[in-house]
Amino acid sequence: MGPNTDMGREAPVSLPASDPDPQASLGELFRSSWDDLVRLATFLTGSVPTAEDLVQDTFLRFGAGRILPDDPGRYLRTSVVNATRSYHRRRLLERRHRPGLPHPGLDHPSELWDILDRLSRRQRTALVLRYYLDLPEDDIATILHCRPATVRSLVKRGLAHLREELSP
């Protein structure tokens, strides 16, 4: 299951809100959303192994939870974004104490990674959620804990920042 290409608002990670068998729904959710969440985390962190670690941690916390969210896909997506935010904070702290710490490499370096690395973390997250997951501004605002106007500003500034790289 890949990202939507028809400008739809449905996120790649989705599951019926109510499932009669939580165990089966959890397993199905895990199998169906693993790749998409890893891709999302990869866009946000720039590293596939790191993304896999974060997504796996997210699933572990999700499986250990006592309450099944109404929208597990949305919950997992938000959890992964939060996990990447914590990862970036931890990386920032590590670099502060170890300036020579190498950046996790990419298996398939491309122009996109260079572009994303030039953005601030919040701009990068906003652009990924907006143009990869095609999420509406309200959902992005919920994930980023900010107002929709702030999301519009982040997206606009991010695109402006990448104007030269993105221009054909």
């Binding site: 397993g27 199998r31 596939v48 398939h108 996109l112 104007r163």
Partner: protein, 186 residues
């Protein structure tokens, strides 16, 4: 959003899609069979209902037990289901058996101003208790001491005395085995 921004957005979207096609997780999807499923949202409701039932049962049990000192409490002691009595000690040293519900004196085991076996006046009682049909009373004067007093024939005997006293105004304590006395324990 301006036209160039839209174009840049579309360009960025295309780059995301192209890059996503090249991102392949290196690890297989972990098995989830051993993972315990989260509890659905309906579970807290069932838990709440269960707790409410437990609380209701506890309240019912609390109100169903006999009052302290009632027939139920003394049933095992008497073995015959007497009405029971409270053992009390007055400030003047008298030891009484009282009705648990009204506080009326059923009988007096030790009269006011008791004396011990050496003829000393006991006063300032501080505590009273009973076990195995023997009452124990702590007096502070003339010196701290614990005296014992047999509850003649036990609580049932006292109740029998009380019940018969309704029909016999000339109640003789010695006749019914009611012989209050004080003896020194130490």
């Amino acid at each position: 959003m301006t036209e160039p921004e839209n174009a840049n957005g579309e360009r960025l979207r295309a780059m995301f899609l192209d890059a996503a096609a090249h991102i392949h997780p290196t690890r297989p999807v972990p098995e989830t069979t051993a993972t315990s499923a989260p509890t659905p949202r309906t579970a807290p409701l069932r838990l709440t209902f269960g707790l409410a039932v437990c609380v209701a049962a506890a309240v019912g049990i609390t109100f169903a037990v006999h009052p302290w000192g009632s027939a139920g409490a003394n049933h095992s002691t008497s073995g015959t289901g007497g009405s029971g009595a409270l053992l009390t000690v007055e400030s003047n040293g008298a030891v009484d058996l009282r009705a648990p519900d009204t506080g009326a004196i059923l009988s007096t085991l030790v009269g006011p101003s008791p004396v011990d076996s050496r003829g000393r006046h006991l006063s300032d009682p501080s505590a009273v208790s009973a076990a195995h049909q023997v009452a124990y009373i702590a007096y502070d004067r003339p010196s701290p001491v614990i005296e014992s007093c047999r509850i003649a024939a036990g609580l049932i005997a006292v109740n029998e005395i009380l019940s018969r006293s309704h029909h016999d105004d000339d109640l003789d304590d010695s006749r019914w085995g009611y012989q209050p006395r004080v003896q020194l324990l130490f």
